[in-house]
Symmetry: C2
Subunit: 343 residues, 2 copies
Amino acid sequence: MAGIRKLAEHLDISIGTVSRALNGKHDVNEETRKRVLAAAEELGYVANQSGRSLRQGKTNVIGLMTDWNAEAIENSDNFFPALTASLQSVFSRHKLDLVMLPCPNEEDRFEYLKRMVARHIVDAFIITSTRRNDKRFDFLMKAKIPFVALGRSASAHPFRWADLDFEGVAGFSVDRLVAKGHRRIAVVVPSSDINLGHVFLEGYRASLQRHGIAFNDELVIRVGASEQGGYQAGCELLQLAERPTAVILVYELMAIGLYRKLEEEGLLPGRDIAVIGFREQPRTKFLQPRLTCFRCSLSDLGTGLGEMLLSTMKAYNRFYPDAPETLIWPLTFAPGESDGPDR
Amino acid sequence: MAGIRKLAEHLDISIGTVSRALNGKHDVNEETRKRVLAAAEELGYVANQSGRSLRQGKTNVIGLMTDWNAEAIENSDNFFPALTASLQSVFSRHKLDLVMLPCPNEEDRFEYLKRMVARHIVDAFIITSTRRNDKRFDFLMKAKIPFVALGRSASAHPFRWADLDFEGVAGFSVDRLVAKGHRRIAVVVPSSDINLGHVFLEGYRASLQRHGIAFNDELVIRVGASEQGGYQAGCELLQLAERPTAVILVYELMAIGLYRKLEEEGLLPGRDIAVIGFREQPRTKFLQPRLTCFRCSLSDLGTGLGEMLLSTMKAYNRFYPDAPETLIWPLTFAPGESDGPDR
DNA sequence: CTGAAAGCGCTTACAG
DNA sequence: CTGAAAGCGCTTACAG
């Protein structure tokens, strides 16, 4: 509770020496250091962060900004908790703390970020749910604040990011479906401007082209990123004049709603229509027939993202000379039965 | 980016006046205030939080400490995101920000809290996952830091808390099962010291007693709070010399594993054994037969918890004169088919 | 209504 | 190796 002044008085030495002892400076007598450390422990003294921050110009805290709308909250899974855990294990190597900065639902994500930056609550940011057009990049570049993004953007500036391999998954899925004889393959992406939808669509498109299949805008279904959105997608798919024989989803929870709609219509995934989901996760494991999807190690992704961020920070970049500037995180194919029998 | 000094120079007035204008003090000429506000907007000036905090002795940030082990991370659902959203809507009334403080997996939750308190990163705490014996309460009381707990504890000190009505759910479940003719009712609780397990068990016990049924320790199954734990519970239940006819779960995800084990043994919930889960949530909705459980409004809980915290803070308690000191949050019965036919 | 000055709790050149 | 002092960016009595 006491400030450094009280501690110094108690030890009958100057606050400067107390500070140096506590911060591991080398020009302190070992005997003195021991006394200081013992007294700090005893009195429960830890330096006040505001004082340190003000003097040092840094907080030793990293902020992970999340930005959930009502839909994302309702559907949230273990993605962020898992990511957070692995980020922390990287940051704790350097005595940095991680805080999550949840942008309030009602507040604009850009205004929120501006406020957090100006307040200097953290030294660096991890931003997530990146949009195709996302003013946050420009702003952070200009503010010269270290940051990395989980997700890409069409922003002109170069910045560091890590992202799941959406284009790889889309391409692999198309390849596989074409190999099974499908030609009329639909894709379901979020109706929002979130960047991953664009990337996924590009991967889908490129792969179709490689196979000489014409891209058909009618087969691109845009819905909410949720179970309900999957149901909606099912409705739209079945209303098409010529029904697709296969569908690729950019978000696995959509599979739950899609299965429901198909069941209502007496259709079975894998028999009547091929379905490929996205990430393997607890909530889709129960689906029957088992969802064909992709597995991904969130903890390794978190480690990569964390090291990438540290490599952009002057105080830590020497520890991470080999950190990449961008990182496309691969997923492993996890075949189920929803994409039909192999041939 | 500029500090208050730059802004004051730019306007050619003193920093004191700039500060007063920005902070809405009344003794500022309206004309001056307008100029200051305009210039701040233009230059993107927002007060540095470290400077403010140091001077004011507060940060205007509230911390929500979470404390997830690997099991909790793997199984995490929308509970915290939903809670966070509603907490924020309360705090934003007073221009307070909420940050989540995720205690790293490897770190002791008590040491982590001590560090966060000492660093003065936040003005007040919300702590969660409270244990039966939880040193954090004593510590926070002594530190005289405002806090509320989501969950109770056996701590001797009085403190403010909100908690789900575990005892109510346990009692209601026993009542209902007894009314259906069950006498041999098992209960599954977490093997950890987390307080909710104790409360649930007390509710179960009290209700049995009211019905004149002897408490049987053999029927208390302790497992991990997860799907896997539910499977484990299924194994243990079926190994009992005399099999229970009903089972009450304190955590709904256990139902998924329990269903799987029962299915493996050719048993059907609701026909061969009655099952009552806990909270209704997306991941258990698919269970067949439908899980009998309880519904709960997380957003109202968050609002209640947030107001309770503000009522403990000197600067805000006048706004919440009627906030309760403790809050047992009710859940609404959501009947399914897993507890057998009504009679 | 405004300005000059003190001081919040630290860390860090600097002097000895 | 240690101490005295400056100063990080603010807010707020105090004087005028």
